[in-house]
């Protein structure tokens, strides 16, 4: 027998040259891999765990709508200025197309959702930025919606909770985006001077013009674990100083240690923490 012409008998299940062999069907959306520890997780399990990895506590990014649903008491959210839409105000090339694409992708009209709701039975104004819309960048409409949310809160003497996620000012709107930093800061100041509470929750990633304006202006600044919190992003810094940055640089824990965040809070305890802080500031009924 010629040893080299010997072929292993074909096994029915192994017939690799046949392409229409049926493998067990796993729909993509059923599983998600944790980007931190690599564990394959059932999507339903992640959802149940508020999109936190049950193995390593990695906090998956949330979209703005899910964030509000997770935070507001059931059926209490009323959206404000829902129909505000960005236009290409300085005629920046390809911006119209980019806006259309992001509207389709996110199902939202802008990079922020604002409104009122109850949180633990307490009336608040809530602002939730959206990483799925142009990476949460701040254009004029974003800035205007946030400013109006603060003005509404000031007028109605309500506390405000803002969830930030942003790559910074939106360069397609040029200088007009930069002006939103001053505008939102002015609105925060008026809310603050009226003696009202502003809590920021920094989520991954919060950077640039948003960090350098309302994100850092809260009375109390909370952050989600491991969230990137920066003025200049790590890549920009590495290019400027031409050296590699340590791995934990600019994480929520790092910023906490440097003294610019009050507390890092696990998402699963966030609602509880916010409610407690609101009550300490005499909002809602004070428990005796």
């Amino acid at each position: 027998m010629d040893l080299f012409t010997f072929m292993k008998p074909k096994n029915e299940l192994e017939s690799s040259d046949e392409k229409d062999v049926k493998k067990p069907f796993v729909p993509d959306e059923m599983w998600e891999k944790c980007p931190e520890c690599g564990t394959l997780l059932l999507t339903t399990d992640i959802e149940e765990n508020m999109r936190v990895c049950s193995k390593c506590n990695h906090h998956f990014r949330l979209n703005a709508r899910d964030r509000i649903n997770m935070t507001a008491d059931k059926d209490t959210f009323v959206e404000m200025d829902a129909d505000f839409e960005s236009t290409n105000i300085i005629g920046f090339p390809d911006y119209d197309e980019k806006l259309e694409k992001n509207k389709k992708k996110s199902g939202e009209k802008e990079s922020v959702i604002c409104g009122t709701c109850k949180l633990g039975g307490i009336d608040i104004v809530i602002v939730s930025m959206n990483s799925e819309f142009m990476m949460g960048s701040m254009g004029t409409v974003t800035g205007d919606k946030i400013t109006r949310a603060f003005e509404y809160a000031t007028e109605h003497k309500l506390p405000i909770v803002v969830f930030t996620v942003s790559g910074g000012a939106r360069m397609q709107e040029g200088i007009l985006s930069l002006m939103q930093m001053a505008k939102t800061s002015g609105a925060v100041k008026m809310h603050s001077d009226a003696g009202l509470l502003y809590i920021t929750v920094l989520t991954d990633p919060t950077s640039g013009g948003v960090t350098a304006s309302f994100a850092m202006e809260g009375d109390i600044i909370l952050a989600e674990p491991k969230a990137l919190i920066a003025f200049a992003g790590p890549r920009v810094i590495e290019q400027t100083i031409r050296q590699k940055l340590p791995k934990d640089f600019q994480t929520a824990e790092f910023v906490l240690q440097k003294g610019f965040v009050d507390k890092v809070v696990d998402r699963r305890y966030l609602k509880e923490t916010l409610t407690h802080l609101l009550k300490i500031h005499n909002y809602g009924e004070v428990e005796k």
């Binding site: 105000i89 007009l176 350098a212 202006e217």
Partner: protein, 261 residues
């Protein structure tokens, strides 16, 4: 001049810096005040008090330096958080004594580095924006060269913003914009055009109030008329009650990008 040529002119090392303007306008009366009372004295920000004709004024400028040695010492006008905090300290002091505040802006941006992040660059700028908006004393910002993003607006939340004809003011550098959008920083000239960053563009967008002709260092007459113009603006704004002035300042920014409800 194209937009990118304006950027090059704004960055030119031959241009007058904040210190030149302060010397020309305040002369011997200028007393420099140092430090943020918290961490250190950032030399990228120069500030102090002096007399503008008969008027006591607090003056603060982002300083790039006038020669290589100075430029190193001043970190090329890129301030750290302590620089912005020093500026705010001096502005609060001005408010206390009801002195008007004059700022000169000339920076490629707030410094990007490890120390700057560790000491809260974002927090420092944010605090300036918030506090400047409510200051009960007149503020005037003059852009004399580069106005780089957050690092520039941190000294420019003012009642009026003026720009030299060859100054620029932008949300991002043309190079940064080109490399993010087109992955090609050599397209900076194209990006400069798109960003609308020249004095003329900004005037048309309603972001600044006045475009100034640029003085040269020995041009006494130009400086005298600039001094007069600044004094008149301060006199007008000093007559407005502080609360009202702060409200006007807020409305000045409030109307930029305002949507119809």
């Amino acid at each position: 001049m194209s937009a990118f040529e304006k950027v090059a002119a704004a960055r030119s090392t031959k241009k007058l810096t904040s210190v030149d303007y302060i010397n020309a306008l305040f002369g011997e009366s200028f007393v420099e005040l140092h430090g943020d009372r918290n961490y250190s004295d950032d030399k990228a920000v120069v500030g102090g008090v002096g007399m503008l004709n008969d008027m006591p004024v607090t003056v603060i400028g982002l300083e790039k330096g006038r020669n290589t040695f100075e430029r190193m010492e001043r970190n090329f006008g890129a301030a750290h958080p302590e620089g912005y905090r020093k500026a705010l300290r001096l502005m609060k002091q001005a408010e206390k004594f009801h002195r008007p505040i004059l700022t000169f802006v000339d920076t490629s941006g707030a410094f990007c580095g490890i120390g700057a992040e560790e000491r809260g660059q974002g927090h420092a700028i944010a605090t300036n924006l918030m506090e400047m908006m409510a200051l009960k004393t007149p503020i005037l910002a003059v852009f004399i060269g580069e106005g780089g993003s957050g690092g520039a607006i941190a000294l420019a939340v003012a009642d009026e913003v003026w720009m030299m004809e060859n100054a620029v003011y932008s949300v991002i550098s043309p190079e940064g914009c080109a490399s993010i959008l087109w992955k090609d920083s050599s397209k900076a000239a194209e990006a400069a055009e798109c960003l609308k960053l020249t004095a003329k563009d900004l005037f048309e967008l309603g972001v600044i109030e006045r475009i100034l002709r640029e003085p040269s260092n020995d041009d006494r007459k130009m400086f005298e008329s600039l001094k007069l113009l600044i004094c008149r603006t301060f006199e007008k704004n000093l007559s407005i009650p502080g609360d009202e002035l702060a409200k006007m300042r807020y409305n000045r920014f409030r109307k930029i990008g305002k949507q119809d409800a």
